[in-house]
Amino acid sequence: MASISYDTHGLDEGIEAGTKLGAILKIVSLFAFAGVIGVFLLIRGVGRGKVNQVSINNSFGQIEYKIPYKNTLYENFGFVQEPKVTVPLKTLSGYVDTTFLLDSGAVVSTLPLQAAHDTGVDLAKAKRITLQGFSGVPAFAYLDKIVLQLAGQEIEFPATFTESNSTTYILGRKGLFDDFTINFDHQDRVITIKGQAK
């Protein structure tokens, strides 16, 4: 009696397992494409909204920060690789991811006027300098400091704030190119910032 009962139960379970497996396979298949896209986006980091790859050697305080190049399509020049880096900028409301153009031709980092407001810089106390504009009329800029979080480290850079809200966020040489080794690798389309954390 017990063995008959066991055999019947085993047969039922066999059928049930096949049905279950088929149903699960079909449900998984139903969302297979969405799953593939999800994995693809996860690998590219789209979901996280960050393009930076960071590695830190904590043993020696060495910072290594890798940033992929970004393509810019210029009307007259076609595609140009643009060295842009997204780093957290210290503001009054905490760190805010900010995209800077890494500009080895710029003496000092430059930010628009709104950034002075956001970072709490008192422009009345900052030193006033001039920047040359294309119109020939010089524009004022105010020299102060900004704090960036580079590979987890809080680093202070000298920076100027322009009187316009439409200027680009630029990371210039002073403070960055002085203290860090920056490698523009156009073949691998990656910029590497290396340096010693202070």
Binding site: E16, T19, K20, G22, A23, K26, I27, S29, L30, A32, F33, A34, I37, R44, V46, V51, K70, N71, T72, L73, Y74, E75, N76, F77, F79, V80, E82, L113, A116, H117, D122, L123, A124, K125, K127, R128, I129, T130, Q132, F134, G136, V137, P138, F140, Y142, E163
Partner: protein
């Protein structure tokens, strides 16, 4: 119950339906996904900046035939070491033997950032004090009508523009204790400007003018008594709202006629439409 569910799934989801659903999902997602990926890697821009600096060669003196003229000094306030821009005409393409005085003191060559026929950029010398700005070119002198105000944030009055609503801006001062009268010069684009005095303030004169950089209006005012250190609205300016309104110059005086040091936060000197 569980057996019914699995069987129902098996019966409802045919392979044809699964493939069809994925194809539709693909078609729906591919366009926004492509746009997002393209935008992540690519940016469109219409122009690029490039400038080649020529070596500096100073030719022999060749002064302008007309006397120099100063139209504006930007900004009207500053600290020692800050740069001011003197705008005008007939300064000469090069400095040669010309001189510029900022805050009653001659600016040395090291303090002159740029010299051109219409624009001078000069750092305020260490020994400068609140006072005049003038230029001498080939023996001809040009004076700026205003005073360059040297300030200290802790002890100086502050002036600024505040947008009340579209087409209406308030001119205010704070920390201006002891002030009894003054003058404000505004640069503007659209007119008319309608000035409405604030409480206990009387507008005594309005003088319209213009220079090569645009229109300007000089507004002279008198307070009913000495201003206190709290923020005071001197007057409001109503205008058609086209173009910007900019604070070009400000002078305030105490009852004894002394010039009150004033500065403005760069965030509050211009109101955009």
């Amino acid at each position: 119950m569980a057996e019914n569910f699995y069987e129902r799934v098996n019966n409802t989801l045919t392979w044809k339906r699964i493939v069809g659903f994925n194809v539709i999902l693909f078609l729906v997602m591919i366009i926004p996904l492509s746009i997002q990926l393209a935008q992540q890697d690519t940016e469109n821009r219409s122009g690029a900046a490039g400038e080649v600096e020529a070596p500096v060669v100073t030719p022999p003196p060749n002064y302008p035939s007309s006397p120099p003229r100063i139209e504006r000094v930007n900004a009207f306030f500053g600290k020692t070491g800050d740069t001011v821009v003197v705008l005008g005409a007939n300064f000469g393409e090069y400095k040669w033997g010309s001189k510029v005085y900022v805050g009653n003191v001659e600016a040395m060559d090291s303090a002159i950032v740029r010299w051109s026929n219409s624009v001078l950029e000069v750092k305020i010398p260490d020994s400068a004090r609140t006072g005049k700005v003038w230029v001498t070119v080939n023996g001809n002198r040009a004076d700026w009508e205003g005073n360059l105000l040297l300030y200290d944030v802790t002890r100086s009055a502050q002036v600024g523009l505040r947008k009340v609503e579209s087409g209406k801006v308030a001119v205010y001062v704070s920390n201006a204790a002891g002030t009894v009268r003054g003058m404000v010069e505004l640069g503007y684009v659209s007119e008319p400007l309608i000035i409405t005095p604030g409480d206990n303030v009387q507008v005594t004169a309005q003088t319209a003018g213009a220079d090569s950089l645009g229109k300007k209006m000089q507004i002279t005012w008198q307070a009913g008594g000495e201003l206190t250190s709290t923020q005071t609205t001197l007057f409001t300016v109503s205008y058609p709202g086209i173009g910007s309104l900019e604070l070009l110059r400000m002078e305030m005086f105490s009852a004894s006629g002394g010039l009150i040091p004033v500065y403005a936060n760069p965030l509050n000197v211009k109101v955009l439409p």
